[in-house]
Symmetry: C2
Subunit: 202 residues, 2 copies
Amino acid sequence: MDNGKSDDVFLSILDSAEKRFCRYGLKKTTMAEIAGDIGLSKASLYYYFPNKEELFKEVVSQGHKTLLKEFEGLLSSGVPAEDLLHGYLEKRLIYFREFVHLSALSLESINSLKPVYARLFENFRKKEIRLVGEILAKGIAAQDFQNLDVAYFSDLFIAIFQGLRHNVIVKKDTVNITETEYSLLRKQYESAFNMFMKGIKK
Amino acid sequence: MDNGKSDDVFLSILDSAEKRFCRYGLKKTTMAEIAGDIGLSKASLYYYFPNKEELFKEVVSQGHKTLLKEFEGLLSSGVPAEDLLHGYLEKRLIYFREFVHLSALSLESINSLKPVYARLFENFRKKEIRLVGEILAKGIAAQDFQNLDVAYFSDLFIAIFQGLRHNVIVKKDTVNITETEYSLLRKQYESAFNMFMKGIKK
DNA sequence: ATTTGACTTTTTTAGTTATAAAGTCAAAAA
DNA sequence: TTTTTGACTTTATAACTAAAAAAGTCAAAT
């Protein structure tokens, strides 16, 4: 349905790929394994995807897209900006836990990350910032927030929470996150969010 | 003067070592180079330090100690807690720029960092947290701050700013920080600090 | 007490080979 | 005609090895 060729095979490949990439990361997942999961031969994957890199990018983009879409819809609704921001953080946190291995600094070390992936994540970050920016603008328009520099504060917003997520990963040698760490992170999110709100509210 | 043996040779070794470690990191600095800087033979270094690891640890500890000492003194003074916190951040930021290469995730990748160094940084972090905790306690005692959970909020405080610093490094492939990045970080520090203060003030 | 040259040991690096995974394609199956 | 595959080639990774560099030692000199 996408481009000449067709099928839910395409989707089941994505599905299996996502599961494996999420659990084992890019390098530790082989095309043969992904194919095996759905009873196909490795060669068949190349009928649907030109190469591993594209498959990986597709998985990541898909995740990003899903997350962003969930919010773009809400933007036009009557929900107050504060709740939007809060809801966004909530989803972002859940996404983080599920996709740690996909996020930039998992097992593969920082500087060895291919520019093409770096761009992918940078791109997502930009979209996130733009989205948060729109929410901030909405809050300003509704007289809920002060008349602040939207570009700067949306960037800061993303930076703070990304920073908190970093802290969790960097301290560990494995990339698996325990329930304790996760709930501390959630608490920190909550506090930081409240402070941020106090900082920008009228 | 330290332990039987003596001299400012000890100090000039530390001095040269600090300069090289800060600029090139642990791995890219050789004992021969350090010795060469001060016109000594490599063998002489081993008269003062048992090995490279101890020398490195001494350099890092020294930096940490200096930073911490500057504040422990202030703690007993009459300066308001808010100013203390602010002053601390200021120093911390300057230290960061100067010592990036020493900080945990410079060139050597995260997981390849020896546990002994990890412990060193973890130790410093704990001291930082304790120090911030004391300042918070002071602010609470002076009725400036709300009656908050000191342990939790000092941890959060450190986490937020460490997170912001991370963001700067992670985005880059080199570890050199440009003036632009540095001043953005400083601005973020300022904003985050103001929000934090609004969040905890009475 | 301090320094060093000449030494040994350990760690890195560069180069090689073997193995595994990526990627291709003509033929088979649906 | 679309989809799948086995058998293949190419490319990347891992496992060894040899050479070079750096760490670390020590008896003798200052």
